[in-house]
Amino acid sequence: MLRRFLILFTLLGPFAAAAGEHADRIAAVLDRHILPGFTRFAAEAEVLKDAAEADCAPRSPALRAAYHAAFDAWLGVSHLRFGPTEAEDRAFALAFWPDTKGFTPKSLGSLIAAEDPVVNDPAGFDHVSIAARGFFALEFMLYDPGFADQGRPAYRCALIRAIARDIDANADAILDDWQTRYADLLRNPGKGESPYRSEEEAVQELFKALLAGLQFTSDTRLGRPLGTFDRPRPNRAEAHRSGRPLRDVAMSLEALDALAGLLAQGHPATTAALRAAFDEARSLAAGLDDPTFAGVANPQGRLRVEILQQSIDRIRALSGAELGPFLGVAAGFNALDGD
């Protein structure tokens, strides 16, 4: 027989948000951030698919513009890594980065060399390696000179169209999953099939998404190109082939700012502190004038990127020290950062 023991109780801080407020908070994040964000992303992905159908030339201005607009829309939701984005590896199939082992160029190269007919089979393309799908695969095909003359032009065109079509299908699948299933699960914790037992757990999921998004932007989007002082790595910046590294950081900050603001509702001091911290990071990013982080290779340029990184780390610290306790989801010494 299963025996259960309770050893200690967890005490919530005295300033924790009241439980009733959590329902409003969850609804606000869903209705003003998550659902509109994925709706916009699905719409931009469709424009991208249509642009590739209309003109698959890598230098097509319309195609490149659609690529950037869809990528921007993805950055509005790319931090929401739970539920629909995780099913079937959808988010990784949209954004396979970082790619430390170079799987994306290898996988694309094999498809092209074999002229794999899977590009003509929309249902089959979602079984292609996730490294050859999504925005980073498309970026290689549109911007990398190494892929400009690999294989036959007709095959490259078919591959570009297949990747764009797959991005669109994936965006639709995520949106549909949110609209028909997951929004209700998040809105109704403790009921039916909801994976959340309580409103606190649902809020914790949203809070974790904020922290993970901040960590990814600081440690990975900025940390990888920064490398070390002796060995800066500008070629490891995210989407550097299409000139997006700084844009990705700025767009992700916009999205995280919006989420943080909705979570902090009801606590004016935390709201104001987060607002000021995001404003600082935003103005540092706007003033950087180094769209690809190429400047990390010289000491002055490097310092400015490090200062931007530190400003994001201040938001992380503030979120952990003030927002988490306010939401009643402060994590323990071990739970906070396991190993």
Partner: protein, 361 residues
């Protein structure tokens, strides 16, 4: 500042002191890292009764430690991605050596001594290649003597098999790079495994889980006296999935995965932070600081038989009739027996792991 040579000469003398045993360090049963109320970090010796036998200052947050089989020596690692470990004489409190990871490497926070204590093995990361390495050190002077591939990416825990001739390594599968802190870089393609090596570095066997579980990072180990290996996992995939978090393996056989009823399994939050096998070999326990929960399994039946709720519980170690546990809130006590003993509390926030000190005989 003393130069390195004289420093090391001093060390060897200390290490070779023939008389000292763990009794001289207050006869602790376990080692654990901890944070003090003042915010500094220590390595502590703990008894199975909850008493603190000693605390020694550490330069930063530790992770796991390794205990010498005979002498009161502990190797305390800096937290991942730390590049050093310090060797402490737990009787005198002296730091007697410092292990430095070579250029391009960092430690993962776990290591183990050979049966006689003359060799020390540590899990290490070759971070440009993204490959795991086991470094091999002489304990007479703590110089590096060798290394061999760990058989995978992200080796974490390492344990000595009861024969003393083999090592078992949990290759967690997760690639990181110090440029990106602790960010996980390869979740969609990760492939953890459990690998066995001879103590000379020759690979004996590698065990992988079925494809659908490739995001279940195999990270921590406990070994029974008959060679049964219990491994604890941390799920990196879709949060709506409730994967098994405890596995058992016997050399040459298929792994057996254990899980509780879905409702209980879900409360572990896809995360097992530590694993332990009871001294009598009948029970295994895993802890989840994320869920504030420990689950005890009966090894004979593979069933989860007891569940303990304790905020930020993580450290687990064997005691007679069950397990000793520690929490990040400073609590410690016993679970797994017929009752829960009164939990002791201290002003120390216990870190992830309890490392059992080998018992003579």
């Amino acid at each position: 500042m003393p130069n390195r040579r004289t420093f090391l000469a001093g060390l060897s003398a200390a290490v070779l002191s023939p008389t000292a045993s763990w009794a001289a360090a207050g006869a602790p049963d376990f080692l654990s890292g901890a944070r003090t109320a003042g915010g500094s970090y220590v390595l502590a010796g703990l008894r199975g009764t909850g008493e603190v036998a000693f605390t020694l200052d550490l330069p930063g947050r530790g992770h796991a430690a390794a205990a010498h089989p005979v002498r009161p020596l502990a190797v305390a690692f800096a937290r991942r991605p730390g590049t050093f470990a310090i060797v402490l004489d737990c009787a005198s409190g002296d730091v007697i050596a410092r292990l430095e990871a070579p250029e391009g490497r960092h430690f993962y926070g776990h290591g183990v001594f050979s049966a006689e204590g003359d060799i020390f093995y540590a899990t290490e990361h070759d971070y440009e290649a993204g490959q795991g390495v086991i470094s091999v050190w002489n304990t007479s002077d703590f110089t590096r003597r060798d290394e061999f591939p760990s058989g995978g990416v992200g080796p974490h825990d390492i344990a000595l098999m009861p024969s003393g001739h083999r090592l078992v390594i949990a290759n967690g599968g997760i690639e990181t790079h110090p440029d990106s802190g602790r960010a996980k870089l390869n979740i969609p393609t990760m492939r953890p495994n459990l690998s066995y090596f001879g103590i000379d570095g020759g690979r004996v066997e590698t065990v992988e889980l079925e494809g659908a579980l490739h995001k279940n990072s195999i990270r921590h180990l406990a070994v029974r006296s008959d060679g049964l290996v219990a491994f604890a996992m941390q799920w990196q995939g879709d949060g709506s999935v409730e994967p098994p978090l405890l596995g058992l393996h016997k050399a040459g056989a298929q792994p057996q995965l254990l899980q509780a009823a879905p409702e209980d399994q879900r409360r572990m939050m896809g995360y097992a932070g530590s694993v332990s096998i009871s001294s009598d070999g009948t029970l295994a326990a895993i802890s989840s600081p994320l869920g504030g929960l420990a689950h005890v399994y009966e090894l004979g039946t593979g069933k989860m038989v007891a569940e303990y709720e304790a905020s930020d519980i993580c450290g687990l170690g064997p005691v007679k009739g069950g397990f000793f546990f520690t929490t990040g809130t400073g609590a410690s006590g016993r679970i797994g027996g017929s009752d829960v003993t009164d939990a002791a509390t201290s002003r120390l926030s216990w870190d992830n792991h309890l490392v059992a000190i080998p018992k003579p005989g």
